[in-house]
Each structure stands twice: as C-alpha cells, then as structure tokens.
C-alpha cells in the first residue's frame, strides 16, 4: 500500500511541475493590471503546493507522527481554499470585463 502512496505522490509532483511551468509562461505574457498581480499570487501558491507535494512523501519516509501529518494536511486544505477563492475572483472579473455577466 505504501508504494501506491509513493506512486500517487510522484504523479502529483509531476503534474504540479507542469502546472508551475504553465503558470510562469502565462505570467510572462500577461501585460499587467490587477489580473497579473493576482496571477503572481496564484503562481506563488502553486510553488508552495509543489514544495508541499515534494515534502509530503518524506513525512511517510521519516514516519512523522499522525498529529503532525494532520496539521500539514489541513494547512494544505487551507491554502487550497485560498487558491480557489483567488481563481474564482479572477474568473469573475475577467467575465465582467468581457460583459457576459448578468448584472
């Protein structure tokens, strides 16, 4: 079972590395404005997630106590929630500028 966990963790890290590349590429082509600064914030979050993803299998390797594991998991949940909130605001503002929202 532990190998399945390592496998999943490795896949997660792989996808996250691709996400980091995509996020930086998009940030390079954004001209500026509020969307660019919010995107910068999102990119930082993605980097934090990547670090978290890399460190998480180490928690298993070093058999960190469950209570610490729980703290790490809930910290990632919190960051995930903030991440989603920023994404929603970026989408809302973009759609608003495009004029496709019912006001």
């Amino acid at each position: 079972m532990i190998y399945v966990s390592y496998g999943l963790s490795f896949l997660g890290i792989l996808v996250m590395v691709v996400n980091v590349v995509l996020a930086f590429r998009l940030q390079r082509v954004l001209i500026g404005g509020e969307i660019r600064s919010r995107w910068g914030l999102l990119t930082n979050f993605i980097l934090v997630f990547l670090v978290g993803y890399i460190l998480s299998p180490l928690l298993l390797v070093f058999s960190v106590p469950v209570e610490y594991m729980g703290a790490v998991v809930f910290l990632i949940f919190l960051f995930g929630a903030i991440f989603v909130s920023i994404v929603i605001r970026i989408i809302r503002d973009t759609l608003s500028v495009l004029g496709v929202l019912e006001e």
């Binding site: 954004l30 500026g32 404005g33 503002d93």
Partner: protein
C-alpha cells in the same frame, strides 16, 4: 415636409395604427402624428415612462437599442429603441403586423441614418480625441481599448459607459494607475463637449 415627420404620418395612416411619436432620452416628444387617442399630457407621461424603461433595459441588455412590444386587451404598444430615445407606436391589438413591420423597417433605416449624420462633427471629434488619449497613455497596448471606443454610441451617456468599460479593462489587464488617469481625462473631455 421633413422626411421623419412623413414617415411618422405614414405609420399613423396604416390600418390599425392609432398614432406614433418620437421621443428623446429625457422623455420629451420630438415628433408625433395625429390623430392619437392620447392627450398631450398623457403622451408626455407615457414618453417619460418609456424613456426610463428603455434606458433601464439598454443597460441590462448591454445594447444601445432595445425593442419592446406590449399587448393589452385594448391594443398593442410597439416601442423601437434608438440611440437617443425611441419610437412609440400605438395600435389595435389586431393590427396588420407584417405591413407595420415593413413600414417600420424602411423608416427605422431612415431614422438611424439621420442619427448617424447628426453624430458626425462634435461627437466624432470627441471620440478621436479620446482615442488619442488612449494611444498616448497606453501606447502599444491601446488597441483593445480603442476597439471599445469604436463600438460606443454617439450620446454622452453611451460615451461615459464606454469609458467605464475601457477603464475596467485597463485596470484589470493593463495597468491600474494608467486606467485611472486615462478615464479621468476622457471623462473631462466628454463633460466639456456635452
């Protein structure tokens, strides 16, 4: 005779049409045909209500021109939105709709041509000055904002709406400070010209 008045008279002479009038954004009746079932006071009150409805619907629909049709027991009210007001036609419930639409189509073409001619001159100059401001402030990134201005209507209200949209786009995607500066200068320009 004035071609617009001729058109309104022609509309009013159709079987089933009781009367028609043109009103502006402020709700003032510009031209009308007789006989109308309404007194002048009733007509003015109706024009004001219709004008407010058109303004409200225009902002909801994100369009300068909105058409409304209301059918009552006693008759039918057809409202065609124009860039600076509208055309209201009062008719019987069973009006010959195809004939009415045919006449309307021709006449609305005339009305919109007249509007476009009226738009030339000062409004055109204001728009050009606004584009120059955008170009000066945003430089190479000005194209998208200029296309917003290109699609703006002729009235100062519509120009203000376009400025608001341009400011929003610039603030979100280009630069917050430039957005504020650009919008302020364009608003001053529209205020001066109106």
């Amino acid at each position: 005779m004035d071609p617009i008045q001729t058109f309104i008279n022609e509309l009013a002479s159709l079987v089933g049409v009781q009367g028609a009038f043109l009103f502006d954004r402020q709700g003032a009746i510009n031209q009308y045909s007789t006989p109308m079932e309404l007194t002048l006071d009733q007509g003015v009150a109706l024009a004001r209500t219709l004008s407010r409805s058109l303004t409200g619907l225009s902002s909801l629909e994100h369009s300068n021109r909105v058409d409304i049709e209301l059918v009552f027991n006693e008759g039918r009210l057809v409202l065609k939105g124009l860039s600076d007001g509208g055309l209201c036609i009062l008719c019987d419930r069973q009006v010959n709709y195809s004939l009415l639409n045919l006449t309307l189509e021709q006449g609305l073409g005339l009305l919109r041509t007249v509007e476009m001619k009226a738009d030339t001159g000062e409004t055109k100059q204001t728009l050009e000055d606004m584009k120059a401001i955008v170009q000066e402030i945003l430089g190479e990134h000005s194209q998208r904002v200029i296309s917003i201005l290109d699609n703006a209507g002729a009235s100062s209200e519509e120009l203000m709406k376009a400025i608001e949209q341009a400011e929003k786009m610039t603030r979100m995607f280009i630069d917050k400070d430039q957005a504020g500066r650009m919008a302020q200068r364009m608003r001053e320009l529209v205020d001066k010209s109106s």
